[in-house]
Symmetry: C2
């Protein structure tokens, strides 16, 4: 297997990414000084920009990137940034992308409010551009994301997640926005519903694979200074696919032992015992296979398109997501 590097994969749209970055930076400011101080700081927390990248590629697989594409890319990146800022408040996270989080510096109040500001700003860009079809998909996505997170919270409290509910949760909380990125990119340049739908499905499957990979990395990823420590989901009592499978695949007695570990308070929890249990009971292998099967489905959706260069890029992106180590 090739060793995939995100910036190599995406070099075919380097120009477009450059233009996007400029437009994004220009669009985010307020007339309010304190808002701009926080925004300036936020721009230092550089992310991978996978969502705007998907908007751009989803336009380019059909036609040429337009102003609508850039507005769509800005909208999704603002929305994504808003949800990250809210997530950090909710999870009381102290760091984000290797820097202190907004709530760590300016307290929860600023975190909730800047999240609301960024969401409103994103929607205003769509309203001003009269992109009403974007607004329709994006508001539905915000709704699904909050529903998915709330479902996850409730399942977490009861420690009774199953595979079907796991897929419902990750589809709502993660894949919905990735699918929306692809839908918006396609819709920005085309009215062909079969093409729009193919890209939306590609995004949905990619998003599911992305989240499964994320959940696997919580068990076997590399612990780095800048990244998250292993076992974060275990500490938060989140039952994700590797653990759900391992619990089903082990005998009742062992499963009950693991559940009683999870019921403990975080400081008394033997996280390594749960990690070892998941690995020994095939939870990682099972989840890797599941992620790969969604990767195959994502690539299949690309068959109807003709632009071989962008098809290769989107296909490489699937492999990158499946193989990423952090």
């Amino acid at each position: 297997m090739r060793n995939l590097n995100l910036s190599e994969i995406t070099q075919v749209v380097n120009n477009e990414l450059e233009i996007f970055n400029q437009k994004f930076r220009d669009s985010i400011w307020s007339e309010n000084k304190i808002v701009n101080i926080i925004i300036k700081y936020l721009l230092k927390q550089k992310g991978k920009k996978i969502r705007p990248l998907l908007v751009i590629l989803s336009s380019k697989i059909i036609g040429e990137v337009t102003d609508r594409t850039y507005r769509g890319a800005t909208l999704v990146e603002l929305l994504h940034t808003a949800t990250l800022v809210h997530d950090d408040v909710v999870d009381e996270s102290e760091t984000r992308r290797g820097l202190p989080s907004i709530n760590a510096i300016w307290k929860n109040k600023a975190g909730v409010l800047i999240g609301d500001y960024l969401l409103a700003k994103g929607l205003m860009i769509a309203v001003d551009g009269q992109d009403f079809d974007f607004l329709k998909v994006i508001t539905n996505t915000v709704k699904r994301m909050s529903e998915g997170e709330l479902l996850q919270s409730s399942k977490t409290r009861k420690l009774n997640n199953d595979e079907e509910t796991y897929y419902k949760i990750i589809s709502d909380k993660t894949a919905s926005l990735i699918a929306t990125c692809c839908e918006i990119g396609a819709r920005a340049v085309s009215n062909d519903e079969s093409k729009i739908n193919a890209m939306k499905n590609y995004g949905e499957y990619l998003g599911i694979a992305f989240q499964i990979r994320d959940d696997i990395l919580d068990y076997v990823g590399k612990k780095t200074i800048l990244g998250k420590p292993l076992g974060g989901d275990i500490r938060e009592k989140k039952l994700t696919l590797p653990l759900i499978f391992a619990l089903k695949n082990s005998n009742q007695k062992t499963a009950n032992e693991i559940l009683s570990v999870l019921k403990k308070k975080e400081k008394n929890m033997d996280v390594n015992k749960v990690i070892d249990f998941v690995i020994q009971n095939g939870g990682i292998e099972y989840s890797e296979n599941a992620a790969r099967s969604f990767g195959v489905k994502a690539k299949d959706e690309l068959n109807i398109f003709e632009n071989q260069m962008i098809k290769n890029t989107l296909s490489d992106l699937v492999d990158y997501i499946l193989e990423r180590k952090k």
Copy 2:
């Protein structure tokens, strides 16, 4: 002066309020069980519904209430509810409208997410109804509300608020949404920009009067079991109009003494000393005069309309806001 009672004032639109309540309840649900459990609880926290009331009255002063009016009323009530839920997370409030807050029962996570859900749901109603002019004003309002709150936070930290900044803050954080309610109500039934503008201005002035009254009540309101205790703004180091004026109106030495009280930690703060200082230095009287002058401006905006019954109602509403004790 008459003893004004909100339900008497608003009885001219009792039918419309009834229809609104039914439509609002029908529109708020999710397919997600846990979301609906929280929503059901939220509906028990009954508010005064002043915002949807203003939407309805602003339609009715021009013409007949329509489906667009009800959609607008639902949109603003959902948005308002979303901001209250976020406020409670931000302020770590344990109660709301006499019942435990969402964050007190379901933790901060649910508070942030249900707020996002309600906001998205409100916007979806506008998108589905193709009310794009509503979306334009509402997204701008969400932006202004978050900017206003953030400006207030930054001024709070520095204890250096002045009257001009105070008005900027309350215009953004409170009056913008009240003005939007009136604008949306008028726009739902009319294209006449002079009428729409008059109602928008009425709302802006009413909203400013409302917030000044709110800030006065923090000094001289009645402490009730269900309501907020006196001096909450002082504990949070919020410099509102009564205190800003009193500080300017007293000698430097006394002002510095009060500022040093405010710099203390909440548990060591002599709140009553600040309250007495504000009363003795005319802060309440000055603020009451200011609120009244905005009340007069609000009523002046009604002059261009012909529907005397609704004019009276909107005028009584100004008096109710100015005189309310909680």
